[in-house]
């Protein structure tokens, strides 16, 4: 027993303490509990990993039997292997930095204790998600982080847009969970268990003629879940709206950790996916399409957080592409470097927003380089990392992916390269618009407090140097490397694409400002299509949401329920009543009418008898 349970339990204790007593506690106490619990969890992760050594086999701990019914037997079981180790370090490490940052960022917001209680609860569920040793427990974490995402997106619940975005996130994710749930049912029926340790060997040993149908179905259903959580086509629509939440939430949940859960889940299930090539192709293509589509939208947005949100969708597309082409190690590598530079981008954006007292529109910024130099410097580190400039972190992980894509299908590589150019463009576009040129706003910017700058500095260091952490090699025992060899020409092309993107952004937004507007004007309809995000939200609204609501109200409720069904019920009652009224007329109390009825009745009886020949 290494007491793995302590890792999630510590933030959970923080959640309980702050949730119950936080309202009456001072900010210092809330901070100490929130940050302290995550720090302790991080330390416990480090200690556990050091004591576990090489982790050639997973270290699992079962605490109790959770569900035992029929053919179901699910234990409350946590485990650590190399994949989980990477995730644990990313989640608790980046999580800790963001918690520290939040103490500064949220200092002036109401509901301070509530924010940190939710954040700690999120850490708990995220850690359950990555440590679970069976799918059902993973699903607990999966749903739990969704709940926290809902609570934190809607944190400013006075704003209607915030609570609407929160609802959207929850419901869209539930649509994804539909697939996850069905995948679990299928696995129980097929393998008789939901334990990773039981399923993967069984799947690996399945003869090929059996795998095609079942494993492909399981893999695709799991992937439906992943498209919800990791914001892939066609379920990505909730993530840009999720930016309604406070910026540290965007950094922690909607960039660094939760949204990568789908990638983690596919990587975790690699034994299933590798047996289902068709599903793998679907995964790769969805990832690639998402990467391109989101990148194009990112080119046109003016809200700094929206730019980074679409960037996140696009980068998640890269990760999904990676796992889809079988480069699981590269996918997790990019997951980690992305956690560094994207968390940094968001936190840096938060620092900008904080400095401008809430301004998020790039058009109202400009010239901030001198005013908030530390923020600028750290954001620049993130930008070079995401743009794939060597030797910074994004360069290594992105190239791993692109090379694997090329090995799988060269056209995927080229699409990826184009996306890389767009990535570099939109990130530097945001940097240039915010920090260069003349100030376009009426603000008095001020640099952020040390509690915010320190995490930025640490993340900047990680963004720059994180590429030297040999994640793919560390994960090799789990995910044997494919034959992708390093091809200098391919690397040079993708680096060149990134530099081209940066150069174009410089041209458009620094050296010849105005070029951007004229280009946008020249592109006309195409520009408007992309600027309006391809009208996907509107299409979903018109084809799904409205028909569902309108149909439910007019047809199902007013028509079928109140009209037909209840109409029939009340109709039967009414007919009985009418019949009663009719029969009541016979009971008039009038002797003469009774006599008349008796006479008529007798005549009727006699007539009937006569007709039937009874009277002879």
């Amino acid at each position: 027993m290494r007491h793995l349970w302590l890792i999630p339990a510590l933030p959970f204790a923080g959640f309980l303490l702050n949730g119950i007593f936080g309202r009456r506690a001072s900010k210092a106490v809330v901070n100490a509990i929130a940050v302290g619990s995550v720090a302790l969890s991080f330390l416990w992760v480090v200690k556990t990993l050091l004591s576990l050594g090489g982790m050639e086999t997973p270290h699992a701990e079962r605490y109790f039997t959770w569900i035992e019914s029929g053919i179901l037997n699910v234990g409350f079981e946590l485990a650590v292997d190399r994949l989980t180790a990477v995730m644990l370090l990313v989640v608790t490490g980046v999580g800790l930095l963001i918690h520290i940052y939040s103490t500064g960022y949220m200092a002036h917001e109401g509901g301070y204790y509530r924010f940190f209680a939710y954040m700690n609860l999120f850490m708990f569920f995220m850690l359950i998600l990555v440590m679970a040793n069976n799918y059902l427990l993973m699903f607990v974490g999966w749903e739990g982080v969704g709940l926290c995402s809902y609570l934190l997106i809607g944190f400013f619940f006075l704003r209607r847009s915030a609570s609407t975005a929160a609802n959207k996130a929850f419901i869209v994710n539930r649509i994804g969970d539909f697939g996850f749930a069905l995948a679990m049912f299928l696995m129980v029926v097929q393998f008789g268990t939901l334990d990773f340790a039981g399923i993967y060997p069984a799947a690996a040993e399945m003869p090929a003629e059996q795998t095609a149908g079942i494993l492909t179905a399981i893999a695709l259903l799991l992937f439906v879940g992943a498209t919800g959580k990791s914001a892939q086509l066609p379920l990505y629509v909730w993530l840009p709206d999720a930016m309604e939440g406070p910026t540290p939430v965007s950094a922690l949940i909607h960039a660094a950790t939760m949204v990568t859960a789908g990638v983690y889940m596919v990587a975790r299930s690699s034994a299933l996916f590798l047996q289902a090539p068709l599903a793998m192709d679907v995964v790769a293509i969805v990832g690639l399409l998402t990467a391109v589509m989101a990148a194009t939208i990112g080119l046109t947005q003016f809200d700094i957080k929206k730019v980074f949100a679409y960037s996140t969708v696009s980068q998640l597309g890269y990760m999904v592409l990676a796992v889809g082409v079988g480069a699981f190690g590269a996918g997790i590598f990019h997951l980690m470097t992305h956690a560094f530079f994207k968390a940094l981008l968001f936190l840096g954006a938060g620092s900008v927003i904080h400095a401008l007292s809430g301004e998020q529109d790039l058009r109202a910024m400009g010239g901030l380089r001198k005013k908030i130099p530390l923020t600028f410097a750290t954001l620049l580190c993130a930008a070079v990392a995401i743009a794939g400039v060597p030797p910074f972190s994004g360069f290594f992980s992105k190239d791993e992916i692109l090379l694997a894509a090329h090995h799988h299908a060269p056209w995927m590589y080229w699409v990826g390269v184009i996306t890389a150019a767009m990535t570099a463009f939109y990130v530097f576009r945001a940097i240039f618009m915010a920090f260069f040129g003349d100030s376009r706003g009426h603000h008095h910017p001020h640099e952020s407090p040390p509690s915010m700058i320190l995490p930025l500095a640490v993340l900047a260091l990680l963004s720059l140097a994180g590429g030297f952490i040999p994640v793919p090699r560390f994960l090799e025992p789990l995910f044997p490397a494919e034959g992708a060899h390093h091809d200098f020409a391919l690397v040079a092309v993708s680096v060149g694409a990134g530099l081209l993107g940066i150069g174009l952004a410089w041209l458009f937004y620094v050296s010849k400002p105005g070029l951007a507007d004229s280009a946008a004007a020249r592109l006309g309809a195409l520009y408007r299509l992309v600027y309006n995000k391809y009208f996907v939200d509107e299409i979903y609204d018109a084809t799904v949401v409205r028909p569902l609501i309108g149909g439910s109200r007019a047809v199902l409720w007013r028509g079928v329920d109140a009209g037909v069904i209840d109409g029939a019920v009340n109709g039967i009652a009414q007919r009985s009543r009418d019949l009663g009224i009719l029969l009541r007329m016979f009971q008039s109390g009038n002797i003469r009418s009774y006599a008349a009825w008796v006479l008529l009745g007798s005549v009727f009886v006699l007539a009937v008898l006569g007709v039937m020949g009874g009277l002879r």
Binding site: S69, I171, F178, D566, V569
Partner: protein
Amino acid sequence: MSNHLLSIVLFTPLAGMLILLLIPAAQKNLIRIWANVAAFAGFLVSLPLWVHFDRGNGGFQMVERGDWIPALGVKYNIGIDGVSLLLVLLTTLTGFIAILSSWNAVDRHEKSYYAMFLLQQTGMIGVFVALDFFLFYVFWEVVLIPMYFIIGVWGGPRKLYAAIKFFMYTLAGSVLMLLGILTLYFEHFNQFNFYTFEISELLKLNLPLGIQQWVFWAFFIGFAIKVPMFPFHTWLPDAHVEAPTAGSVILASVLLKMGTYGFIRFSLPLLPNASIDPWIVQTMAVLSIVAIIYGALVSLMQEDWKKLVAYSSVSHLGFCTLGIFSLNPNGIAGSVLQQINHGISTGMLFLIVGVVYERRHTRLIRDYGGLAHVMPNFAFIFAFAMLSSAGLPLLNGFIGEFTILQGAFEASRTWAAFAVTGVVLGAAYLLWVYQRTMLGQITNAKNRLLPDLSLREWAVFLPFMAWALWIGIYPKPYFDVLEKPVAQLVERVRPGYFEAQAARAQAALIDSGKETTLR
């Protein structure tokens, strides 16, 4: 003493009612206190059932048997298995909570009000413990009367319409059910030459499929109206909207379960051939799935907060009936557990509407908004109940839903695929009503000064919350209680089911063994 434990549980509320009748009507506080004491005593005496219950025994336990009407062969025969045990405990706890929640809500005819509730407690417990069909029928009808008065006297503006609709509809169903019961009764006489209503005797009947089908449909009408299954559900929203809060709580949490219990206790074991008749099973599954989706969609559109919860019940009970007619251990055990879960979470949701109704005297969703500001504790409780109802893992609803859907999936993948959409829609209507009532700015000035929960109101919610967490985190004791009786039921309906399962597992084992040796 302990030999009569079940009778004590059954009659404690009735005894409480009789004593209550001796208290003068003017002593309002004394009446309230006594009703709470009696209901709490009813809960306490039911706890030993849980302790003394033998989990290894799939048959009936704590059986008490004696003659009641010898001329007709009617016995006073009561006993419990795991299914009844859970439902009895749900009844005793919910009854106490319902009575506690009425403290301020009821301000006229207190004496008759509490008397009705206590009488109803005995009736409901009786339904769940009766092992004689006649006795069952008596309790079934006993329950009807107090609820009729609770809705009709202490209800809202359209209380008479709702009460009569509830009464006539259910009565029509029970009359058909009675015909079914009598068919079995006379068939038994034909085959064994003596009259009895005892379940254990009726189980020995050997009925041709045709008769089984007829009796099945007769029972179906009675039970389906009670559940209510689509399309027999339209009495429910009316009854709920007009009933006082405590009445709604009892109605949703316990009364509806009499219908699902009827299927499990009578339809399946007494009519096993009809119960696996493909046509009947398909019909039941389709009606359940329609209820799940349709109930959720109609719930989504409601403007009346209480009606919304009422339609959500239709959807949730659809899961319960789907589980039953999956006819496998997961489906049925999940169904029973979900019946308890629905009692907990929907009970809470009705109590929640009651809390604000008591303060504002309106149930229209648009009259609220932004309540989270003035009532943060209440907002927390509502969020908890919402998540429990929406099936969030680590809370009760998830366990039931998941187990049912697993069972449904084992029976038919199509059923499961359709039913899972109900889970998506379930989140939608709950989140939306939460947003409209709790979040945003306070738009209605009358809501600005609403007081948050009182201590008594906390006390009403806490037991349900604790129970929801227990089932969500550690449901094993519940599955332990259900395992044997459910296995017995499945074996009764599908003889050889478990042998076939074991054989298949064995074959898979050998198969995989061969694979490995071949390598």
